[in-house]
Amino acid sequence: MKWSEMFTSSIGKKLVMSLTGIFLILFLIVHVSLNACIWAMDGGEMFNKGAHFMGSNVVPRILEVGLFAGLLLHIIQGFMLEFQNRSKRRQGYAVAMGSKGSKWYSRSMGILGSLILIFLVVHISDFWFPNRSNQGFLLGEEINLYDKMQVTFQELWVVILYIAGCISLAWHLLHGFQSAFRTLGVSNKKYLALLNATGIGFSIIIPFVFAMMPVSFYMGWV
């Protein structure tokens, strides 16, 4: 079987979703760890140090390219899968099956993903893009991201948008985390149970911590 055949088969497409998904999950850990530095109560010193490292060191900057590639792949493949899957039932049911047998969020990965995408566009244009453009997209002078956050998160609607983004992420992860491992082929009940529990924890904790950032700035906790 050729590589092209492998990744264009129905399971192969899911493998792409699974592998990029797990990659993005790993990125979330890095992202959230760095963000947590805002609570160091040092006026953003530690946070800016970390941000500076990520923005000026060549290794994370190369990884960043990979991150965008993975993200794009996840998005494009996700949309294609969603549309292809929808096209497999030309005539639908008069009485929808609804939640008789599956959770709404597991059936709504496309919508949840789209919501996250909208959020991401705002989020990237809020922080990443201004920062990188300031750098000339190379390893140039950065802006003070901590200060920028402080300004950005004074707007209530921005905070609400960020919280909504995090909630979408939570539901997306709740299905995506365990689904990614099933797609990778974990069928051992013991491990599946472990992954399920980890997945639930992950999809609650990570988005919660993310959501607490705009809240903390808005409320003046930091």
Binding site: M6, K14, Q91, V95, S106
Partner: protein
Amino acid sequence: MEHYMMNLTLKVWRQKNANDKGGFESYPVKNISSEMSFLEMIDVLNEELIRDGKDPIAFDHDCREGICGACSMYIDGRPHGPWEQNTTCQLHMRAYKDGDTITIEPWRANAFPVIKDLIVDRSAFDRIIQAGGYISVNTGNAVDANAMPVEKDKADAAFAAAACIGCGACVAACKNSSALLFVSAKVSHLALLPQGSPERKSRALNMVAQMDKEGFGACTNTGACEAVCPKGISITNIARLNAEFSLAALVSQ
């Protein structure tokens, strides 16, 4: 068990043939005993329709014991109706009460085109089996049955997967019209047994390829298939197939 009588309204999908557009028709049915099976209730209606000079409702059914896999009705938004681990033919009318309205539709999926009324064409499943759902052993080649012991746990798991009746409820329930539960049940059944191991790789690759060719969607692990499977086939089998497929694809030349 106490039994009772009821009057119901049925909303049934009627479609003359594959090319007909089709639509719903409503029928009142009276004096239905709670002891009847769902299909016996349809029998009663059909007898009335014939007497009135109308075309009876066509539906697939044969054994009426929940094992042949022929019956295939999507009842009130659920394949095989409201009961857990059940086929349409084993659904009994005590699941309903007087005055209920029941909507009956055929399985819906591009890969299962409607032939007439509630009858769909599921020959895609046969073609998926043809692609590799077997162990290639010609008659007379076999060694003694006890020459190869099989770990009981694995034999039991293989049996649980082999219990699939090929009814297609998994496809009907899946929002993606994926047949992966069906395919994975067969791949698991044969992959868990030592007899099946020589063809393990080609089986997984070919059956999935045929499934894709037939126009089924990709699995997104929602679990709806497992919830409606009359034989309780677990989606763990899908995970197993994913592993079988990926490994086979990676090591194939």
